[in-house]
């Protein structure tokens, strides 16, 4: 384990903003997207100009815009994290059953979620650590995980203790089975669903061989392995 930590410190980890830039780069123009609470909300700050992406919020909003200016907060217009937001022209309000039909019925193109662990087969664990004294809460995580056309995860690839969060089998309680398509991490992007996980966008100095070794799993190379300059 201490070896792993030493190995990891040899690379410059990508900032959370840079990870969000990568996610934004990969979202197609015209996509309907749900960004989960926490790190995924950063993606909204990096949507490239010229791309029109419609953000969905589980509490009944399509066309969600950025936070309002100080003093303009309207607490009838909040996101899933209960923070005040705005509505873009073309946006719409709807009730909860319709909102979740958009997820559960496969109408949302991409949801981006945080995770405690992702298994090699795409199982996702992100709703509970299973710690005995915590109050259990699930919100919309299970609906999003299995309902969106694609589920992407944003997370650090390793825990602070140096343990990989991409695991053969989830040890935390499952949110959804086989649902994760891509992992955007501080070290690379990993695409699941093929014979082998496919790695791309590796940080400088990181090679497929080293990544494979520290993750303890075979990996396939994507066409582009380098972290391209992002504008």
């Amino acid at each position: 384990m201490s070896n792993t930590i030493r190995t990891l410190t040899g690379f410059e980890r990508r900032s959370k903003d840079d990870v969000a830039r990568l996610v934004a780069r990969d979202i197609d123009d015209g996509a309907f997207v749900n960004l989960g609470i926490g790190q995924p909300t950063l993606v909204a700050n990096f949507i490239p100009e010229g791309k029109e992406i419609v953000l969905h919020s589980e509490n009944g909003i399509l066309g969600m815009g950025p936070a309002p200016a100080a003093g303009d907060e309207d607490y009838d217009l909040i996101n899933a994290g209960k923070q005040p937001v705005t509505l873009l022209d073309g946006g719409a309000f709807f009730h909860h059953a319709d909102s979740f039909a958009m997820m559960r019925g496969g109408h949302i193109d991409i949801c981006v979620l945080g995770a405690y662990e992702v298994a090699l087969n795409g199982d996702l664990a992100n709703w509970s650590t299973g710690a005995p004294d915590t109050i259990p809460a699930v919100g919309g995580a299970m609906d999003l995980a299995i309902g969106a056309k694609q589920t992407w995860v944003m997370m650090d690839l390793f825990t602070r203790e140096g343990r990989s969060k991409l695991v053969p089998q989830c040890t935390y309680p499952i949110t959804g089975l086989g649902c994760v398509k891509r992992i955007y991490s501080d070290l690379c992007v990993i695409t699941l669903g093929g014979k082998l996980p496919v790695a791309s966008d590796l940080v400088g100095g990181l090679t497929l061989g080293i990544l494979s070794e520290i993750l303890g799993t075979k990996l396939a190379a994507a066409r582009t392995l380098s972290f391209e300059a992002l504008s």
């Binding site: 509490n59 909003i61 217009l77 909860h96 059953a97 559960r104 109050i135 699930v138 309902g147």
Partner: protein
């Protein structure tokens, strides 16, 4: 003549009994029918089952109802917030039952109740702790969990505007659970900030048709308020 405009919350809530299942609208700061929850506290009903998304905040509203030990069971998707300490304390001491439901299942089970559906299969939760012990089925190669409707004896919802037939419109994301809950209870009570004359609400804009509503009570308008909703582990 139909007149669902009711002069007081007290009058609207007459007839609520012990052991009732009460659906309460709201998500975060938006759409919580605070005045109706206070009205429920003012009655003496107890042993309630409360169906709502969050578990109350601070010491008011749902939190006050919980603190008064009037709730036997909470059916809820996200009971963990920084200031949901009254629920947290009761839960940790085993003084309240919790049925944790994925939010989409919560909405759909309520919708199913309102639509007369006996049960439905959904992929949400399959293979998770929240589906343990539930009937499952593979349909066209996909795996589903059987979920049952949630009927309410009473629904408490907050709308923006209503008329004497009970037609309602909402404001922004304060709509959330209101329209589905209104369909799923034997009695639905809505507060509004404005009472409109019949015909004044554009029929194309009606969100909840009056058939689903029993009482409309006008309350004084309040500014929207921030809440402390930072999630804690």
């Amino acid at each position: 003549m139909i007149n669902k405009i009711t002069e007081s919350i007290e009058a609207a809530l007459r007839g609520v009994t012990d052991g009732a299942t009460v659906l309460i609208g709201g998500f975060g700061t938006a759409g919580i029918p605070e005045e109706l929850v206070e009205g429920l506290i003012a009655t003496s009903v107890r042993d309630l089952t409360i169906v709502t998304n969050n578990a109350g905040n601070g010491d008011t509203g749902l939190a006050a109802l919980l603190k008064a030990r009037r709730v036997e069971r909470l059916i809820c998707s996200f009971p963990r917030s920084a200031d949901s300490y009254i629920f947290a304390d009761l839960y940790r001491r085993g003084k309240i039952k919790l049925e944790l439901v994925p939010q989409g299942n919560l909405a759909e089970r309520i919708r199913a109740a309102g639509a007369g559906i006996g049960a439905f299969f959904t992929p949400t939760g399959y293979g998770t702790l929240l589906a343990e012990g539930k009937e499952t089925r593979e349909i066209n190669g996909r795996r589903y969990v059987l979920e049952y409707p949630i009927h309410g004896d009473l629904a408490l919802i907050k709308a923006e505007r209503g008329d004497r037939w009970g037609n309602l419109v909402y404001r922004k994301a304060a709509r959330n659970f209101g329209p589905v809950m209104a369909t799923a209870a034997r009695m639905t009570v809505a507060t509004v900030y404005e009472v409109a004359a019949l015909g004044e609400i554009d029929p194309e804009m009606v969100v909840t048709p009056g058939i689903f509503v029993n009482h409309v009570v006008r309350i004084p308008r309040k500014a929207t308020r921030a809440g402390e909703f930072k999630a804690v582990a």
